[in-house]
């Protein structure tokens, strides 16, 4: 299936693009992260430590075990600093 993957703040900078469309067989966010990290050194470096990485699936906060069934958009970003 095709997914839009979005990156924000320093994750966007480290990966070098704000979004990309990926063709994936991943069933969970965790599997998607493994596929992305295998794409190139920038993805690998940005996603090496997931401790400071937050996730949204179809614009709702989610975790690594979230299912990707029927999902159109996954986003990765640092902890939020609004307000």
């Amino acid at each position: 299936m095709a997914l839009d993957v979005l990156y924000f703040a320093w994750l966007r900078e480290r990966i070098g693009q704000p979004r990309e469309r990926v063709e994936t067989q991943a069933r969970t966010v965790r599997e998607l992260v493994a596929e992305l990290a295998a794409m190139d050194e920038w993805h690998a470096a940005a996603l090496a430590d997931l401790t400071p990485v937050r996730i949204a699936v179809d614009q709702e906060l989610a975790d690594l075990d979230a299912s990707l069934e029927g999902v159109r958009e996954v986003a990765f970003f640092p902890p939020m600093t609004g307000g």
Binding site: F8, Q59, E60, A75, P79, M80, T81
Partner: protein
């Protein structure tokens, strides 16, 4: 009952006047509480902040947090405005306003909304100093901890 995400400035006085008349007094409220956040210069270190957000998710998240606050604290109304883009020192970043029959609910709802906005609304701040863009602002553990009290 509105959440707005915008790059342009807002007129805090006009927002509060309109809110107080409509969602406040017009809806039976006896209390309006507001908070506004400004760009600090951090003792001269900063000239501006650059605020990035997640278009689409941001609006949905603010709307959801507003509705949660309204239900939990019995608000007669609420308003959230949050800006993005480059904001100079002293500019308003955001505001929340809450209206309720009595002050305790209005105060608590405003704090509740601020705690959620700080840690769960998809905004990211980057410092801009005299020499240009600097570090991304790191999330504070105390902001995360503040959520646990709700």
């Amino acid at each position: 009952m509105t959440a707005r995400v915008q790059s342009v400035p807002f007129d805090l006085g006009a927002e509060l006047a309109g809110f107080g008349a409509g969602a406040g007094a017009g809806a039976g409220a006896g209390a309006v509480v507001s908070f506004s956040g400004l760009v600090r210069d951090e003792d001269g270190r900063l000239v501006a902040l650059e605020i990035e957000h997640y278009p689409g998710m941001t609006e949905k998240a603010l709307q959801a947090y507003g509705e949660q606050a309204a239900q939990r604290f019995g608000l007669t109304g609420w308003r959230i405005i949050h800006r993005f883009g480059r904001l100079e020192v002293g500019e308003q970043i955001m505001m929340v306003a809450t209206a309720a029959r009595h002050r305790k609910a209005a105060f608590e709802a405003a704090e509740y909304l601020m705690d959620w906005l700080k840690s769960r609304a998809p905004f990211w701040k980057r410092e801009i100093g005299p020499d240009g863009p600097g570090d991304w602002v790191e999330a504070k553990a105390e902001d995360e901890d503040a959520l646990s009290r709700w």
